[in-house]
Structure formats: structure tokens, C-alpha cells
Amino acid sequence: MSKERGVLTGEHFVNGDWACAEGALAAGCRFFAGYPITPATEIAERMSKRLPEVGGVFIQMEDEIASMSAILGGSWGGVKSMTSTSGPGFSLMMENFGLGLMTETPCVVVNVQRGGPSTGLPTLVGQADMMQARWGSHGDYEVIALAPQSPQECFDLTIEAFNLSETFRMPVLVMSDEVVGHMTEKVTIPRLADIRLVERRKPTVPKESYKPFQPTEDLVPEMCNAGEGYFIHVTGLTHNEKGYPVITAEAQEKLVRRLVDKVRVNVDRIIKLEERFVDDADVIVVSYGISARTAKSAVAMARAKGLRVGFLRLITAWPFPEKQILELAHRVEAFVVPEINFGQMAREVERCAAGHALTVPVTHAGGDIHHPEKVLSVIESTLKLRVKRQVPALSAQ
């Protein structure tokens, strides 16, 4: 009953934040802890209205640190849990985001990005938290982050984030932005039966022999909930498969390497991209989130002019599609990377292209989205460079 009420099947004309909340509910999220912050507040507001209707709990915490901590507790309590925030709150969540990674706690964190640093532009767009999403908590780890470009994707990718979080037993990020979060478009919500949902992988071994951090074949451990009689110990300290602290280099190597490999060996199950016109492209525009939409306009304009320009959208921002970029780098002359920051993901593109193609960032300090004409002008000037023809050695590498 409450499951069906969680899915508002039909067509809605709604904003991205609303869609994000409904995606969470459709995914089975029944616990939300959050703190008001522009431009993510609408997610919390929607959850506060909807969760009680479906038998869930909404709580407004005292800050974002508490919000992140509470959803980890909620998840171990056996309930799919989420929080949402923006820049300053995202910074505050980072330590306990790391606790979620270390303790392999499934949950979803939505960051509706605004302009930063600091308080920056509360009501205006930014995409400058992409590297913070990747490296914002201390220590070394891998993350999964999805970048919706529309309210429909806010719905779809929030469900996907929950599925990935349960599949890989880790917090998953939805890196939305102010324009996507506040823009209103049609969102189609399917029937519950037509939504693919992943539930928690529960222990399949007897209670006595269950180890909460013992990996299965794909490196992901099975997970019990608190209150089921497993008497688990869960700690942010480096720990063994039983969960007990072990403060040695060997234990660190075993645990942290697995946490990293858990994502790395499964990249093909995680990464989703949208590709257009890449087959004959001389230049490929790589983008994500709201920037991908104006980039796509620019690519259409370039194509209309007869220019051989392709388009690659990172639906999954992290893990980064290293293989795909390298492969494309061998075929194209350059990548053009528009994003609302000073070249965060462009740096990744450049790294993965490994010198086989040029990377040209299209930067923006934030507060507005890229205009297609600007992206087009960078595409055109990049095409004029004719990098590989001028520097044969580069393409021969």
C-alpha cells in the first residue's frame, strides 16, 4: 500500500527538486534527514509533505553534519535513506560521507549545486563541486556520482542512485544544479511495476559465520540491519571483515584497496553515457548536467554548419569514463568541455586523453549557464587548430 502511494504514476509538470524527491520515494526511500539550504530546500519540503503519507519519517536536523550522520543511522536501521543539500552543506557533510564509504552504508546524497566558494551564489547555478564530490572527504576512495540534466533525470537518476547504493553498498551522490533543480518540465512517472528497484543484499550465511565486511564475488559484502541479531560492529576505523578495528598497514591495504576496487572493477556496470555524432567527429564536446544541454544546442548548431562535431554526456560523472575518453582520444583531434567551473572535469578529460587529443575547457565562474553561441565559438576555434595535422607526433603517440 505505502509502496504504491510512493509512486505518483502519471505525467507531471514539476521542477527538478520535486522530481528528485519523488524519485527517492519511488525507489523506496522512507527516511530523510536534512537542513534547509537554497537551492535544495524544495527537496526537503517535498519529502516533509510526502514521507508521512507513505509511512516514512522526515526529520529536519540541526545542521548538515547531523543530517548526513542520521541517514547513515537510518540505513543501518534498515530503511533506504537520503539527504539533500547544496555547497556549504555539502562541505559539512564530507566527513560523514567518508564514514558512509568506510562503513559501506547505502544512502543517497543530493547536491543541488550553486555558485561558490563559501556562501557564493545561493540562488544561482554552479557546477564547481564536482571535484569535491570526488575528493571532498579525507582519505582515498572511489565514489559514484550521477549528473541529471533535467527534472525527468532528477527522478530517474535518484532511483538509479538508490539502486547503485544498494548494489555496491555505498553512499551515492546525485550532482544536480540550481537550474536543473528549479527548472520545471514534464516528468513521466511510470507504474511501480515498471520501475527497476534494487533491494539490499541480505546475509545468506548463518548468523554465527556472518561477517559484515566480507566481500562476495563482486567485492561487495552482504549487509544485515541492526536489530536482526547479528551483533555487528561498525566502525570508521580501519577494520577487518568482522568489522573489528585493526590498525595496521596490512589491514588498511586489504580494506581500502577493496573499497576502491569495488567501484573500479565494476565500472562497466556503473557508467552511463549519452553519445551523439561521435563516429565521424573531429571534435567531441564532453559535458554533463545543465551544461550538457546548452552544449548539445551548440553541437546541433555546429552540425547545421557542416562541422564534424560529436557530443558525449556524462550521466555518470564518477567513476569517470577513463576507457571511453582514451578510446575517443585516439579518434578525434580535441575535446571541448563546457562546465560551470574553471575546468574540473576538463582536467579529467585531459588526463584520460593522455596526450592523444587536445582538451579545451569552456569555463564559467557560475551564476548563469553557458550560452550555446559561446560553446560554438570555442568548437570553431578548436577545429581551426587542426591539432593532429599540425603536430603529427602527437597523434602518432
Binding site: E11, H12, F13, T38, P39, P122, T123, E178, V179, H182, M183, T184, E185, K186, I290, R293, T294, K296, S297, A300, I369, H371, P372
Partner: protein, 181 residues
């Protein structure tokens, strides 16, 4: 190009954002086109100047920004002066004649039409439906969304007990749009 850009403008409290929302909803949900609505947020949008942008297209909408609108609705002098001076000659400009003096800009656009929306709303006993009267006028003058779609979008976006009032307001505006001007 099937892309139509619309800007609805006025001041806070006039139901400007709701008007933009209803236009978008009419196009996206009831006319089965694509529509994207954007608006200004935060304290800046809670009083003073206020605007909603809607893009409607048969195709997928990539760029959500309104840069050169085909329709401008201005419900305040300030909004009119700011936006009407930037639109092209082909742009349809819809104003409330009691709130906006169209001659305040150097060149009144040829496709400028006016309606006393607020006055008509007051005659109906509810000043707040002025924006819905304007939507009726909008539907009739521009044809950007169908009459049926707009009506459905209005009825589904207001509280049920005000549905009839709003439907009448819509019809009032629509009827006037069909009279010669």
C-alpha cells in the same frame, strides 16, 4: 524552427510565476509538446520585479534560456520597460492597459495588445484572477497553446473550489482576445 520563447513579467504577488507554470503545463501535459519553465529564485523574487520564462517546442528543448521571446506578457510598467525595449518587432507583447503605458519606450512594438485584466478581475469580484484573464487573452492572441490545453492546465493548477471562477476568468480573457482591437 518550432521553438517558441515566452516571458511573463510583472511584480511579486500577481501570480506571474503561476502564469508561466500554467502556460508550460498546458503545452507539456495537455498539448503534448515539450516545455521548459525557468524563473528567478530567492529573496530577489519575493517582491518587486518578477518574471517567468517558458520555452515551448515540438522538439526536445536543450537550451532552457529565453533570449529572444516571441511572446512577452508585461503586467507592470517596470517589467514592460525592462523587457519590451529588448524584444524584436515580431514579438507579441501583451499588457494590462491600466498598469502599463506602452508609449513609455521609444518604439512600441507593432504586435502590442492590451487588456484591462486587473479591472476585469475586480469586476468579477476577485482581483487575484487577473493573471488568469491574461492567460485567456494570451491563448486567444498567440495560439501558442490550445484553448483546451490552457483551460485544463488552469483547472488542474488551482484549488478545486476556485476552479469555476478561474475557468470563467480564462473565458473572459479569451473572449476579449477574439474581439477586434
Amino acid at each position: 524552427m518550432s521553438r517558441t520563447e515566452i516571458r511573463v513579467s510583472g511584480f511579486g504577488g500577481q501570480g506571474i510565476i503561476l502564469s508561466g507554470y500554467i502556460i508550460g503545463k498546458a503545452a507539456a501535459i495537455y498539448d503534448k509538446k515539450n516545455a521548459t519553465m525557468t524563473q528567478a529564485y530567492g529573496p530577489e523574487s519575493r517582491g518587486g520585479a518578477c518574471a517567468a520564462q517558458v520555452v515551448i517546442s515540438e522538439q526536445e528543448i536543450d537550451d532552457p534560456e529565453v533570449s529572444s521571446p516571441q511572446v512577452l506578457v508585461a503586467m507592470s510598467q517596470e517589467a514592460y520597460t525592462t523587457f519590451a525595449s529588448k524584444v524584436s518587432d515580431e514579438c507579441t507583447v501583451l499588457i494590462d492597459e491600466d498598469l502599463v503605458d506602452p508609449t513609455a519606450i521609444s518604439k512600441v512594438r507593432p504586435q502590442t495588445f492590451s487588456i484591462p485584466a486587473v479591472r476585469l478581475a475586480e469586476e468579477m469580484g476577485k482581483k487575484v484572477v487577473a493573471n488568469i484573464i491574461m492567460l485567456g487573452f494570451f491563448a486567444g492572441k498567440t495560439g501558442v497553446v490550445s484553448r483546451e490545453a490552457m483551460e485544463q492546465a488552469i483547472v488542474s493548477s488551482v484549488p478545486p473550489r476556485f476552479a469555476e471562477l478561474n475557468r470563467k476568468a480564462f473565458e473572459r480573457g479569451y473572449d476579449i482576445s477574439q474581439q477586434a482591437q
